[in-house]
Structures are given as structure tokens and as C-alpha cells.
Amino acid sequence: MTRRDLLRLIGTGFGAVGYSHLLAETSGVAPQFPARAKHVIHLFLNGGPSQVDTFDPKPMLTKYAGKPAPSGNLKTERKTGSLLKSPFEFKKYGQSGIEVSEIFSKLGECIDDCCVIRSMHTDRPNHEPSLLVLNTGSPLSGRPSMGSWLTYGLGTENKNLPGYFVLCPGLPIIGPQLWSSAFLPAKYQGTYIANYAKTEPDKLIPYVRNTKYSADDQRRQLGLLAKLDNGSSDPQLEARIQAMETAFRMQTEAPDILDISKEKPEVRASYGEGDFASGCLMAARLVERGVRMVQVYYGNGQPWDNHDDIMIHKRLARDADPAIAALLKDLKQRGLLDETLVIIGGEFGRTPSVEVSGLVKVQNGRDHNNHGFSVVLAGGGIKGGMTYGATDDFGFKAIENPLHPHDLQATILHLFGYDHTKLTYRYSGRDFRLTDVEGEVVKGILA
């Protein structure tokens, strides 16, 4: 909490004396009503997973397979042709009987804890703006990410750790812009970790260990530094001192949390192998220690971007499905699912029609589809065992209760106790917010 932040808070009416004592550890803006969720884990299947092959079964697509869509193809990025049926079987799961594709059968077993939103849509069929709008509420770069807004609002529960982590083995495209704090104070930006499963815990975070100097040495160094740097009233200098101190505490705590070998073997085994599985388990451990938001990107680049062959989804889901299901069960086991919102989805979906490109490649893939796609939510005050919204007969376009990312974001902020129109930050003469001027809370999916 800096002096300038405090002034700003007083200016906006939140700096009442009763709240100010909290500001030392937390920050930002007090929630406006009781929160349902304290943490969020966003499992980002980057590249654009296909809704009609995962969570949005379309019998009509099977029926019309190989024929042109009766209503024509919507405009997407590339040329697409006739309808391509899903190569995967759908099956009913749980008490709720929600249909899920065979490639997500384990997640299917948890479906009674999940709300499947089948009517998401975004503005453009391109990765960059869609990744940005899902993360920051704007298709253009330069706005704070949701994790930054949440940590700005609520702070972190663990002062030894950053409040917002981003895990990806490699980088999703356009990378750091997706977890930028933009004009919010810099301490709210996501802390990125390249979570390759094979990397030793000490090496996950660059420079996290000092093999030469003891903790005593470093404590002495920090002590001297604090005394030398003392006496400045400049908020950026104060923030830097804070960041140094957090860094010091991180050295002991962070590698330990990220060291999943400390987990019970059966728990580890339940998540399965691979980078994404280890990322999911790290996310559970981070949330358990009070981290506000963890994003786990499935992989480097855009693995789910299967233009050529949708069968690749099966291979990807082989890692993703057990890990996601294990995470949901594990959170439940740890008593954290109630207060942890889990989001599962990508930046858009894929066309029900086949993409026609490639010279002698197999033509079994789908183009980007921003008109309709699915996102699955669980925990954190979300009603389980339900579907919400619908796409048309072929899964091309969201037609029933369409949900823009702004609506999703408004709902998420609501779960954290915020009226999304009131979590604002004044910058450059204007009040900014995550949802821009839009967004409706979707009351129907709240528990």
C-alpha cells in the first residue's frame, strides 16, 4: 500500500479508517458484498479447443456430416467446407446426465460439480485479440489482466508470495501481455513460471536460490538495504523495497510449494504425467498457500489449434483430462473447492465445418470459431451439474443466452464480492474497469 494508493482510496471513498489497517497487508478496494470465492484457477487450453468435440454434443452435425451447413458457414479466419462430425463419442455423466466427449471422460465423472457454459462468444476469429479479451477484457493490448484486477482488489493472503501466478511450459502466444498489470501498480502483474515437469523446483523460478550465501547473510543484506533505502516518500521506491523483501521470502517458500515431489505419491499419481499435470498440482498447492489466482496454460504456443486434424485433441486431452479431474477432486479433498473457482477453456472454439487448406495434408481439422464455444466452471460459488446457454444445431454460433467474456468476467468478479462496475482504477483521467462498459452478471449459474 503506497501513499499514493492511499490518497487515491481516500479520494474514492474507500479509505475509511476502519479499512485502512488492513491495507498494510492487502490492498486495493474492499469487496462490496460477501465473497463466494477466494481463489481462482484458470486452466487455459490455449489454441482454441473445439466445443463440438468436447462439451457441446451436436447430433445434427453427425447427421449432416460431409454436407454443407444448411445455413452456410460463418466467416472465420480461413476457408472452411462441409460439416465435419466429431470423431468422438459423447456420453451422459453423473446425476445431472450432462453429455461430455469421451476424450474428457474423467472430467465427465466430476460433471456434477461443473457448470458447462455452451454459449461463449468473442469478437474476432484470431488468437491474439481473443486471448487478450479473455484475459484483460479488451482485444487490444495494454489493459490489466483479470489476475491483476483481483490482486489489486483483494491483495494476497500470503505475503511471502506474489498473489498471481502464471504457469506455462513455454509461452502462450503474445505471452506477457496476457498477465500484464498495464497501468495498475506493477506489483499486481502475474509472476510467470516456465513449469516444465522435468525442471527441478529450484530452477523453476529464475535466480530463486543462492547456493553461495546463507539465509543469515541474505537477511543481513536485506536489513542493510532497507536501512539504506529508507526515508523515501516516492511510491515507486517504496514498492521496490517491498518487492525485494517479497523476493527474499519467496526463496524459501516458493521452491517448496512448487516442489510437487513433496506431495503424497497417490495424489501425484492421480494427476498423471507431464507439464500440464504438474502445473495443475502446483496450482492446487499455490492456492492452498493463499495465492489469489493461478493460470495454467496447457502448453507452449497454441497446442489446441488443430487446423489440420482434430484427432490431435485426443492426444492433448490424454494429459488434460486426468489432470483437470484430479485437480477438482484434490481441491475438494483439501476443502478448497468451495472457495476456489476453476475455469476450464480456451480463447475460442472451432468451426463445425472442416478447414480446407494444406497441400497434401489430412483435411480433418477445424478453423477458429469465435461465434460459439464452451467454457466449464466449477467450485467457488458456481452451481454444479448444469449447462448454460446453447449454440445452434451445428455448434457454430451461440444463440441461447450468449455470453461474452465481459459477462464471464462480471460474474467472476461478482463471486469475489465485487460489483464489476465498481472495481475501477482511475488512470489518465478516466475510470477503467475489467469489463469496459459492458458485462452482465449471469445470476443463473450461481449456487
Binding site: E77, S138, L140, K187, Q236, M244, S357, V437
Partner: protein, 870 residues
């Protein structure tokens, strides 16, 4: 995985629209105008179909042949709304098809709320893309950025103001009743100026000399010395490299792909700054350096385009944002929604670049180049021969193996003797068949049959059928490949591939073909493998070809150096407007020409080649008001941390207005008077009292102007990535000032300045990334400054800090601890320690059992004082 980079329309900053202020106007701009622009303006602006002109609220109230188009507050009785809802019996709009219900709702909401149409946007930038219909109004021409540059007289000001710049600053402060803080002390000032101009701290000797110099010109001398230092270009050239999104490699998603000669552009930019190349020439060199009188001095500038990011065409974007502060690429699909930029202007500029090609500009004698090329060609020809020969033999062999598929299956099932087939090929089949997870649909029955050894004849029958399929797939694939090549007109370029109607094998057939016949297919032998199947003359020929390739390869000299440039194509093509930005939807032809808003009257078509030289001259024309305004604003930003207009690459409607437009114009006019000399401009800025202000607090000023937009103090700046690394190495005495040439990775054995390190689009150096180095995939107008714990870890634990603290310890260590601390303070902070600091230092040293000095000095290197410039 494929990457899509086609979307790169990056309006750097759309001001957010708050839920509170001017919401109605924002709603119009963000929701309503786009709907009208897309669906209505084509017929209802200039051409006024049905008498209706939809250019303002007034025009809508006036309406057309059928009366008023709107009744503000009452959508149900507004003809416009009734027409789009298809409620009116006769008028149903737009004719091309009904709007979405969402769009109709937006329009209704807008009318209901009173149909606010912001005054400043009257008929702005929204007429049809067709032909010459586009009209720029006098009001648009009068927008601040497009007005001619004038030289305003400095206003009267308070006594503190020394130079004209100060007068402009003082006037704005006075308006708000503010006064500047005290001037900075000399020590602060020389540290500030030295980091500012060279990216390095001053030496203690330089500080002493300045402190001793009591003359009135003391600081001017420092500034002149720094401007003349070769270190200056290394700092200021790098500023420009942010704009020109310089990198040493390509963004390849699979592998590292360095550009071996990219550094020549970097070095040219650095040299251009050191030489104070007039900015107009600097601009022209980067657009048309090959076409200027001394191309050997300017062609290197073409790296701006020759090193463009791959997959995405940002050439118009980087040109217009970089030089002109305009987001012309926003007019790719439609007329610019906010600025007077018709869509055809985008294509007029694109035409210039589309009529160029990537090229090389050799830096060696012609004979050497030709010798190299001839030898290279000899190798390539021979390699081609070799490959063709091997491919032909391999294809023939695969064809033969295909006709024996049945036998191999039988042999694999041990139903016939293994000796009856080729051993290696059988092993490959075995390996293939062992991978049951392939779940090959054609082979499923085969696995079932194998369990039952009794049915040999059934097995043979299946194997024969399978063989027939294999033979057929092989033939079918070849047919499709031929057909696709015809459909593509013989070109396999990426762009064509993604849009052509191509044939392909059914999925399962495709995989069968891939597994058997592709480069890695089990029936295909490579050069080494095929050897075994050849005899006599066939084998001897292969050996000869191989020997020749090896021999010719040895004879190639190292490649001559060259510049990566662009050059005009031999025969310029006509450019079309792409309707809605869709290449498959060409509209009218456009000539290459300059932007309409920056032309007097109708822009004249370019007539020489691609038009690059003409474009360069138009951009660098002193009468063009944007070029000087944009660069002086950047220079101001690079000195002070932010510009007079904060959106340095967007001076359009959506950019921020300059906080002090008179000052901006004064500086632009001075730049022109000084014949585009950047150094002269910088001298004038740095000798102002404004530049020399302290960075103290002021309660009053902070309340009125918390972001210091009006410049009541000098803003403290954190060292950026290059400065942190360079300053640490400078302090330890290890910095190697040899520079230029091939980039090297910033590892622990590299002590050169950071600007010469390898800059990657694919995988940026982690230290650079940690300290907010810009992403080289698009032009960057300003660096973001972040402050995160991971940076703290860098100071606590990085090999750089640890090793340089030790080096620094060796540099300052002395038997007298006090003296050593004093030396360290002089080296790092240009001052003596206070009594308290001395005491703290000594306490630390005595309390630390091992390596006290490196540990102590690491703290000093990590301190705020070291890492900020005040």
C-alpha cells in the same frame, strides 16, 4: 501447431470509456458509429440516397424524402429504427440484409437515449471506400496534428524560466497555480545527463571536473561531451530500435532462426545517431536508402523492412505509426473509424511495399560475390541432381515394395519364411505393425486374424486386399498432388495454401500414405539406405554425385557480408483495395500515393517504380507537420520518461492530446530550423531549466498534477534492462566497450554493452524480459516499467550480481575499510557516504563472517539509489 498472426491491427491505446464521463459519446463512437459506418454510410453520406445524409444528428433530424429519420427519445417512431427493424412496410434497411438483433438494439438504445452524436466527429472519416467519394472536411484538416507546424512565441513566464522551453512549461504551470521544485544539484544533474545520453553512469573524474567547473557553460560542456561520445549512439540508437522492432532472428515457432546480417542495421542506426544524421535523411534512408545519391551510406537503413516480423504484414503499420504517429493499418478493412484515413490510403501505401522484394546488398567486390554465388550454385545443382536421383530410385523402390506388401504382412506374421523378403524392410514392417495404438482401421482385422494361426489362407486373402489398397493409395496420392499443384498455379506459398480449394486424401488413407510413403515412411529409403539396393552403374553414379557434392562444398569460400534490404520488383503490379480486408474480395484499383490528409488536394500517384522514394520524400517533407512533431515528441519522451503527447505512436483522434501543444510545435519548428539535427534539439532541451529541475516532492503540485504531466519536477526513472546490466558491469570495471558486429548472447562471459546482445523474437533473453525490454514482434512506442519480486531475486541471486559484486570488491578493497566504502560510494553514487551510511557499512562488514565485501557491495548495487536516476 500453426500460428495465426494475421491480426495485428494494434491501436496502441484506445482510451477507456468510463461508465461515468461522456458515456453517451463513447457509446456512439464504440457502438453506434461502427454499425452506421458498416451498413449505412456507403449510401447515406456523400451520395445521400433517398435524400438522407447520415452525417450528424442534425442531418438525421432533417431526414430525407420520407421525413425525419429519428425522433430522439422515441425509437418506435423513428424511421431509422423502424427501417432496420423491418417494421416499415416500404423501407427495410440496410438493403444487403437485416442487422443482427444486437445491432438493432444498440441503435434503438441510442435513439432512446437522445441520439447523441458528438460534435467533433461530424462526418468524420466514415464515407465509402469507393473511388474518390471520400471527403476530408476543413474541420478534420484543422485537427491539431494536421495543422501546419508554426513557431509560437514563448509566453511570458516566471523568473525561473530560462529558455523558451521553460516559458512554455511555466505558462502551463502558472495556469494551474503551480511552481516547479528547486533545480537539481550538480551531482544529480551530471548523473542524470550521463545516463540519459549514454545509458551509463558518469565516472568519478567526470563528476569532479563538473563540480569544479564554476563557469556558466559548465553543464553545456558536459552535454556537448556526452553528445560527442560514441556511447551516445548506443543509447539513442536503441531507442529507435524499439520503434523499428529490431531483432536478430525470425519468429519461428519450431526452431531458432537467426538473421546473420541483421546487426548491420543495428550498427547503422547507432552510427546514424552518433553522426547526427539529419532526421529527414534518417527517415529517407530507412524507406528508400537504395535509391538515394549515396546508397552505400544509406541502404543499411532498409533493415527496417528487410527485418520485418514474419507472417504478418506490418510494413504500413510500422511506417505510419513510427514516422507519422498515425494508425493507418486500422483502415485495412474499412475507412478509419476516427481519423480521416480512407481505406484506399492504406492500400495506396501497401502498394508501395507490395512492389518490393527482400534482397541483399553485398558489401564485397562484385567478383567475390559472383565467385561465391557460382560455387554455391554448383553445389546446389549437384545436390539437386543427387536428390532427384535418390528420390527417383526411392520412389521406384517404394513402388516395388508396395507390390509386395502382402508378402511382408505374411512374413511379419511368420506365415511365410522371413528369408523370402528383405530383412531391413521386414523389420520396418514389424515395427510399424507393433504400434497397435495407431489403431489403423485397415489393419484391425489383421490383428484379429493373427491370433488365430489356423487361417493362413484367410490371412493371405486379407494381405492381398491390403496390398491392393496400399497400391491404390500411392497412386491416388500422386494424382492429388499433381492436381493440387495445378490448382495452386505451381506455387506452394503459404498465403496461397491457406485459401486455395485443395484436394486431399480421406483421413485414414492419408495416414496410410504418410506411414508408408512419406519421407519417413517405412517403404522409403534415404540416400544412405538406398545404397544397398543399387548395383553396377546405378551405384557408381550415386557415389560420384556424393563425392562431387562434398568436393564442391569444400570449395565454397565463407559467404561475403551483405545488408538485408528491400528493392523494387521489376514490374510493379496494380494494387486493389481489399474489401473488408479480404484478399479474395478485391475492389477498386488504387495507385500508390501518399495519405490524403497529408496531401494538398487529391494525392498524386507515385510514378517511379514502387514509389518508395516518393513516399520517403513525402514523409520527410518539412511541410509535413506530423514527421517533425512525432520525432520531437519521441525525443522528449526518451529524455523525460513520457512525451508531451503520451501516445507517441498515435497522434490521431484516439491518441492523447499533447499537454502542451505550443511547446510541441515550438520544438518541431526548432528541429526544422536546425536542419533536422536531433543533437541540436537535445542540446536545447537539456539546457532548459525544466530539464535541470530536481525530483523533489511537492504536496500541492502532486495533488493537482500527480503524474507530473506539466513538468513541475523531473520524474525519477528506473534503470531499464540495458542500463541495469551495463551499469553493474561499469561499476565492477568489467564493461567491454568494444561493440558492434555479430550479436552475442548475454551470458556470463559476455561483458559487452547490452545493446549488442542477441535480441530474439522467438525467445527473448530472460534478463531483458525481466526488466521490460519490448517485444520485437511489433513496434513499441514506450517501455512499460514493472516492479516485481522476480527482479528482486535477480539482485539477490543472479550470477551477474554475484560475480560483479566480487569484481567490484577487488576494485575497492583496501586495508582501510572506511576508504574502501568511500571509494565504493564514489563509484556507485558519485558522492561520499554520510556518517550514518559509513557506520551501517562498517557494522555490516564486521557482522559478516565470510566474504563481507562482495556481500556489502551487492547491497549497494541493489539499492534504489543505484537503480534509479533522479
Amino acid at each position: 501447431m500453426r500460428r495465426c498472426l494475421t491480426f495485428v491491427l494494434v491501436l496502441s491505446t484506445i482510451p477507456a470509456f468510463s461508465a461515468t464521463a461522456d458515456k453517451a459519446e463513447e457509446f456512439f463512437e464504440m457502438k453506434v458509429r461502427p454499425i452506421l459506418a458498416k451498413n449505412c454510410f456507403a449510401c447515406h453520406t456523400a451520395s445521400k440516397m433517398g435524400g438522407l445524409e447520415m452525417s450528424s444528428r442534425e442531418a438525421l433530424l432533417k431526414g430525407g424524402a420520407d421525413g425525419a429519420a429519428i425522433v430522439p427519445g422515441d425509437p418506435d417512431h423513428s424511421l431509422l429504427i423502424r427501417a432496420v427493424r423491418h417494421e416499415d412496410a416500404r423501407i427495410k434497411m440496410p438493403p444487403q440484409g437485416q442487422l443482427s438483433s444486437d445491432e438493432i438494439d444498440q441503435l434503438s438504445l441510442w435513439v432512446k437515449a437522445g441520439a447523441v452524436w458528438p460534435k467533433s466527429h461530424v462526418s468524420q472519416g466514415t464515407t465509402a471506400a469507393k473511388g474518390d467519394d471520400y471527403v476530408i472536411t476543413p474541420e478534420q484538416r484543422n485537427y491539431w496534428a494536421f495543422r501546419p507546424v508554426t513557431k509560437p512565441a514563448p509566453p511570458k513566464a516566471d523568473a525561473w524560466a530560462k529558455t523558451p522551453i521553460d516559458h512554455f512549461i511555466a505558462a502551463k504551470l502558472q495556469e494551474k497555480g503551480l511552481a516547479p521544485v528547486k533545480p537539481a544539484n550538480k551531482r544529480t544533474l551530471i548523473r542524470r545527463a550521463t545516463f540519459d545520453l549514454t545509458g551509463l553512469p558518469p565516472t568519478p573524474e567526470e563528476v569532479d571536473a563538473f563540480l569544479k567547473d564554476k563557469s556558466a557553460r559548465a553543464f553545456a560542456k558536459v552535454v556537448d561531451r556526452l553528445l560527442a561520445s560514441p556511447r551516445y549512439g548506443e543509447r539513442w540508437g536503441r531507442h529507435w530500435l524499439d520503434v523499428s522492432r529490431y531483432s536478430d532472428d525470425k519468429l519461428d515457432s519450431e526452431r531458432d532462426a537467426p538473421h546473420p546480417n541483421a546487426f548491420r542495421y543495428r550498427d547503422w542506426v547507432i552510427q546514424a545517431f552518433n553522426d547526427d544524421m539529419p532526421y529527414d535523411e534518417f527517415v529517407k534512408a530507412q524507406i528508400a536508402g537504395d535509391l538515394l545519391p549515396n546508397p552505400e551510406k544509406t541502404a543499411a537503413g532498409l533493415g527496417l523492412y528487410a527485418l520485418s516480423p514474419e507472417f504478418q504484414d506490418d510494413r504500413v503499420d510500422v511506417t505510419t505509426r513510427g514516422f507519422l504517429g498515425l494508425t493507418v493499418a486500422c483502415a485495412t478493412c474499412h475507412n478509419h473509424k476516427f481519423d480521416p484515413i480512407p481505406q484506399k490510403d492504406y492500400y495506396a501505401l501497401l502498394s508501395v511495399f507490395d512492389n518490393t522484394k527482400m534482397d541483399e546488398y553485398p558489401l564485397a567486390p562484385k567478383a567475390e560475390v559472383e565467385e561465391y554465388k557460382a560455387r554455391k550454385k554448383k553445389v546446389e545443382d549437384e545436390e539437386k541432381k543427387l536428390k532427384e536421383y535418390v528420390d527417383a530410385q526411392a520412389a521406384q523402390l517404394a513402388d516395388i515394395f508396395a507390390t509386395r506388401t502382402s508378402d511382408y504382412l505374411m512374413a511379419a506374421a511368420k506365415l511365410i519364411p522371413a528369408e523370402s523378403v528383405d530383412k531391413e524392410t521386414l523389420e520396418r514392417w514389424n515395427k510399424y505393425l507393433a504400434k497397435t495404438e495407431k489403431e489403423h482401421p485397415f489393419l484391425k482385422p489383421w490383428y484379429a486374424l493373427q491370433k488365430d494361426k489356423q487361417h493362413e489362407s484367410e490371412a493371405r486373402k486379407f494381405a492381398d486386399d491390403f496390398q491392393a489398397r496400399v497400391v491404390k493409395v500411392f497412386a491416388e496420392h500422386n494424382r492429388i498432388e499433381r492436381e493440387n499443384m495445378i490448382r495452386l498455379g505451381g506455387s506452394t506459398e503459404r498465403g496461397n495454401l491457406s485459401r486455395a480449394d485443395l484436394l486431399s486424401l480421406p483421413r485414414d488413407d492419408y495416414f496410410l500414405w504418410r506411414d508408408l510413403f512419406s519421407d519417413k515412411g517405412i517403404l522409403v529409403y534415404d540416400e544412405k539406405g538406398i545404397n544397398r539396393f543399387l548395383t553396377g552403374e546405378f551405384k557408381a553414379y550415386l557415389v560420384t554425385l556424393r563425392k562431387n557434392v562434398d568436393q564442391y562444398n569444400k570449395e565454397i569460400p565463407p559467404q561475403y557480408p551483405f545488408l538485408q534490404v528491400i528493392s523494387d520488383v521489376a514490374k510493379p503490379k496494380k494494387q486493389h483495395v481489399y474489401l473488408r480486408g479480404d484478399k479474395n474480395n478485391p475492389g477498386d484499383e488504387v495507385d500508390a500515393h501518399f495519405l490524403s490528409i497529408l496531401s494538398s488536394g487529391k494525392p498524386k500517384p507515385y510514378t517511379h517504380g514502387s514509389g518508395r522514394l516518393e513516399l520517403a520524400e513525402d514523409i520527410a517533407d518539412p511541410k509535413n507537420p506530423l514527421t517533425p512533431r512525432v520525432i520531437v515528441n519521441r525525443v522528449w519522451q526518451w529524455h523525460f520518461g513520457f512525451g508531451i503527447a503520451r501516445t507517441a505512436s498515435n497522434f490521431g483522434e484516439l491518441g492523447e492530446r499533447p499537454v502542451n501543444p505550443e511547446l510541441l510545435d515550438y520544438l518541431a519548428a526548432r528541429l526544422l530550423e536546425d536542419k533536422w539535427s536531433i543533437k541540436a534539439l537535445q542540446r536545447e532541451i537539456m539546457l532548459s531549466a525544466t530539464y535541470q529541475l530536481g525530483s523533489d516532492d511537492s504536496q500541492k503540485a502532486e495533488t493537482v498534477d500527480p503524474e507530473d504531466r506539466l513538468m513541475w519536477r523531473f520524474n525519477r526513472q528506473r534503470l531499464d534492462a540495458e542500463e541495469v546490466r551495463d551499469a553493474v558491469l561499469f561499476a565492477s570495471g568489467k564493461l567491454d566497450l568494444q561493440g558492434g558486429g555479430k550479436p552475442e548472447h548475454l551470458d556470463d562471459s559476455n561483458f559487452k554493452r547490452t545493446v549488442y546482445g542477441f535480441v530474439s523474437r522467438r525467445r527473448l533473453d530472460p534478463m531483458l524480459e525481466l526488466f521490460d525490454f519490448p517485444n520485437a514482434n511489433s513496434t513499441s512506442e514506450a517501455r512499460i516499467v514493472t516492479n516485481v519480486p522476480l527482479q528482486g531475486l535477480f539482485f539477490l541471486n543472479s550470477p551477474l550480481l554475484m560475480s560483479q559484486s566480487e569484481a567490484l570488491a577487488a576494485r575497492v578493497e583496501s586495508s582501510d575499510e572506511k576508504q574502501a566504502i568511500e571509494k565504493a560510494y564514489r563509484l556507485l553514487f558519485d558522492r561520499a557516504p554520510t556518517q550514518k551510511e559509513l557506520k551501517l557499512g562498517l557494522e555490516f562488514l564486521h557482522a559478516t563472517p565470510e566474504k563481507p565485501w562482495p556481500k556489502y557491495l551487492q547491497v549497494l548495487l541493489s539499492s534504489n539509489e543505484f537503480n534509479y536516476v533522479s
